[in-house]
Amino acid sequence: MKRNKIALAGITLLGASSIVLAGCASGGGETGGSESPAEGSSTAVITTNGNEPQNPLLPAMTNEVGGGKILDSIFAGLISYEADGSVVNDVAENITTDSPTQLTVKIKEGLTFSDGEEVTADNFIKAWNYAAQAESAHNAGYFFEDIEGFVAEGDVYGAEGDLTGLKQVDDYTFTITLNKPASDFAQRLGYSAFYPLPDVAFEDMEAFGESPIGNGPYMLDGEGAWQHDVRIDLTVNPDYDGPRKAVNGGLDIVFYATQEAAYADLLSGNVDVIDAIPDANLETYESDLGDRFVNQPAAVFQSVTIPEWLPGFATDEEGRLRRAAISHSINREEITDVVFKGTRTPATDYTSPVIDGWSDSVPGNEVLDYDPELAKELWAEADAINPYEGEFTIAYNADGAHQTWVDAVANSISNTLGIDAVGEPFPDFATYLDARDNEQVGAFRAGWQADYPGLYNFLGPLYATGAGSNDGKYSSEEFDSLIAEGISATNPEDANAKFQEAQTVLFTDLPSIPLWYQNVTGGWAEGVENVEFGWNSVPLFHQITKAE
């Protein structure tokens, strides 16, 4: 997904532990005073960094972080996510999972859009139907894939007409029927693709995307609030009544071409909160900002995928030995420390520490330990089966700041195994994708940012047989069945247990070599309080306060 690319290209993070996340409501500093949100002024407008949205501001049209940040502020979905990824009802009164394929949604009565229209079940159903339709070609259309009535076959992708799985019960209740078990569906409903749309949107979608009317904690600050390429100014929506009620006076998002510019503005007090420390300042930000920064793992997992088509690496005895040897030969600690200045956290599994149900002790994860001796032994065992020839390449797109770490990983492998391991750069992302999809590369870099805070999202789409983002063409019946059992379990604990079990299969087959979790880094100006980053690396703007 696009949010991922942006994050990979730019956001850099530090290795604080997840304890920071759980224990400190006011952000990453040691001060941690979460008890006094009233300190700041309720009229102070918070300014933050952003990017010009790539698409009109339509919820299901947006799949990148620039527009997502704005949409999340001006719309409210059925649920929203707390900083730790846990779920809280927003517009929903309650959501019941009746079976792995059936949900009933009841929404709160009396909520309105900022133009006064009441939010009803119909607003959700119409918006979703619109987004799911093939002819809308919305970027986030795939979110509706699992709802009955959605077709994904051959050339057809999307619903023809309305989704048969959405049924209105009364003004405030509707049911969702799925075409395959997805017990974590309720968990997804906080994503922007699922936001409701007011009736006025359907009169002229294009005009609506230019000046959207939402039901969220903020709204556009009048005509011309969105100055393209420059900024967008949001003011508090007085009619919003939900868990994200703004305690500040508004939110101005200034679009920056570079993170360096945003950082310079933070240092001179022209911007209050930024969600990325530029690479150039990683040496100095701690002294620049005192305790006004955060550096903690985010829901971004990075790895090197070794595709099934690579000679010597098939899913058999030889391939498993070679994959394990590669994994043991990468010094993750050193690379995250030296190359990334601590803004990556060495991986201990295939998901992310900010996801509910995450564990750092999945059986088999010792294959991620740096162990040169063992690596050499395993490689020699594989060579005994079938000698290895040629070089081991790691493909990457050179427009995304990957060269340094790919070279470091390749060096680590070369030095340990005594083979020729090198990075294979492609000039840009499009070229890289082309080569990868045509199976013209060996191993390649991979990154994944979760769509919603659920373990399944890190596993199903990436490693299930034939899944959309299974770029290495991995296939394992055992893994597939464990994932299927997990997604059919209506009890979250049972589901997570299955997902952990599925990961043990991955640790054996190693379709992809886990490297590290990307961290979120951010900073805020003096006098700014209660800055906390959500599971998706975006600050929870509504709770930020500022002394005036």
Partner: protein, 309 residues
Amino acid sequence: MATYILRRILQVIPVFIGATALIYFMVFGMPGDPIAALFGDRQPPQAVIDQIRARYMLDQPLIVQYLHYLGGILRFDFGTTFSGQSVIEVLGRTFPVTLRLAVMAILISFVLSIVIGATSALLKGSWYDHFQLVLALVFIAVPIFVLAFLAQYFLGVQLAWFKPTVGGQNDWGDLWLPAIVLGFSVYAASMRLTRSSMIESLGQDWVRTAYSKGLSRGRVVPVHVLRNSLIPMVTDIATNFGILMVGATVTEGIFNVPGVGATLYNAIIRHETPTVVSFVTVFVVVYVLVNLVVDLLYGLLDPRIRYVK
């Protein structure tokens, strides 16, 4: 003179068609599918890609796309960006900012190079002249992004004389810092040019004649020597103007100026053909026009050129 101007203006048309065609074919020739790249690491189903390709006519043969683009231009429609804005709107919003920045930088560079170049020429061989030479070498040698970062950090963040970034405020006054950086990045060569051209003029017979007629130094230097030395300077400014329009990309990024730089950069990354072609074409047209103005200025500065034409 009038036919000369007309002829020069008509020359813009083939240049325009040639440039757009060339750029169009080059952007199209870039490997990779722009639509796939829009989605990042999560690949959409082929059907969705096909739909979006059709929306931007990317499924048509290149020549059809190009003719469609040219046809649009005749109706003053330059196509739309992937975000659905009309390219002409984006051009109208970003070009004036970059233009303003380039003009300010040229003015700064012009004043610096005239003042320093002329004084250096008059004080040839003095410590002042040597000092200016060293300083000029420093400014030529330091890459512009280093200059920009240093200026931003010391003048913007530490001393707070300027706002470190420009952001939405892009009136003349707000653009001083990036303009100064840009101006300093090009002044050195122009200054050396002014100096050598002045030194050459100072040794000419007509200067001696002017002095022998009893004219004061205060009149000979500015009116006679400087004016004659301006001819190479004017060409130089035109070249600089082109460099600055294009080279502002880096500076605009660092100072967050909402000009063409970032927009063009992003458009190239996304293979947004209509945007790239339109922007680069405008660059070409600006370059051609500036050169036209330069040729006309020659006539003003040197009557001989005017009458020959």
